[in-house]
């Protein structure tokens, strides 16, 4: 199942995002994941943090980011919209700005 998060042009950057739920064998009890496509390109794999992560439970961790999304920072997002906003900025070449990392 896929769901388009924003249509081309709607968010002003002409990128269409699609999310696809997946199960990820991430270890430590984390298995709910989501593939993020930008205009049919796989750009990120996000994993929802399980209860083992205590205060971070339910947030989304950037498991893998490709191309401009590659980072050594520990990226954790409140929700998928938060993640999408960061991905948009990175894909538009907005450097390190706006990222939330711990």
């Amino acid at each position: 199942m896929t769901r388009t998060l924003s249509s081309p042009g709607k968010n002003g950057n002409g990128i269409s995002f699609t999310e696809q739920p997946v199960r990820v064998a991430a270890g430590g009890g984390d298995q709910e994941g989501c593939l993020i496509f930008a205009d049919d390109w796989l750009v990120a794999v996000l994993v929802r943090l399980s209860q083992a992560h205590e205060a971070l439970t339910g947030r989304w961790f950037l498991e893998a980011g490709f191309g401009p999304l590659a980072t050594k920072h520990n990226m954790i997002f409140e929700d998928l919209h938060d993640a999408e906003a960061w991905i948009s900025r990175r894909l538009k070449g907005d450097g390190q700005a706006g990222g939330r990392h711990s």
């Binding site: 991430a26 270890g27 430590g28 009890g29 984390d30 943090l49 083992a52 992560h53 971070l56 961790f61 050594k72 920072h73 520990n74 954790i76 390190q96 711990s102």
Partner: protein
Amino acid sequence: MAPSDHVNRFIRKLESIATLSDDEKQALCDLPMRLKAIDADQDIVREGDRPNECCLILEGFVCRYMMLDDGRRQILSFHTPGDIPDLQSLHLKVMDHSIGTLAPSSVAFIPHKSLHELNDRYPRIAGTLWRDTLIDAAIFRLWMVGLGRKSAYERISHLLCELQMRLRAVGLTNDHSYQLPLTQSELADATGISTVHVNRVLQDLKKDGLVTFQNGSLVIEDWEGLKKAGEFDPTYLHLDPGEVT
């Protein structure tokens, strides 16, 4: 801690890697030391400093680290009671990294002048301190292999084995258990992975029956299993054969 106890820890550390005569031990006991208690997360020496004394760790947990411009930190090594993490400052005048506490610690500052005099009078002690810095370099080599080539699970397993051996050599383990006052964030900065990955690895190590955590202590439930998981071979620590099991 009685005044003699902290010197004893230092002597025990050196005796884990070399043999010392009574005269040499007395010379170590006679070193002038300025004691200081330091809270957690405080710098002891900073990158760029030109120290004129070395710090001997008496209690607590200390690390060497470097910071990148955007705030990312790489922990280079952990240091525990009996260690002198900045012994290199005796011969390298400018600190090329920082040393800070990770837990409330007490340290003893020993003037470089006194250490130089000690080394001049007791060449075997000089040799032992040199050996200690060479073992330091061996530990860095193994960390490099871990950071470059091992999985998160292997890296953390190896680190937990290393701390067991080093703490055991100075009498700070209780069988296969020791105080581990580190946060997941500090483990992440040492092993070059995210805090999320550290959490997952610790969950998996527990699930696999290798370790448990009890009141701030790490308990190694399966020593052989943990060594295998980290591909840990203690040769690089160059401990006295009696310390290696």
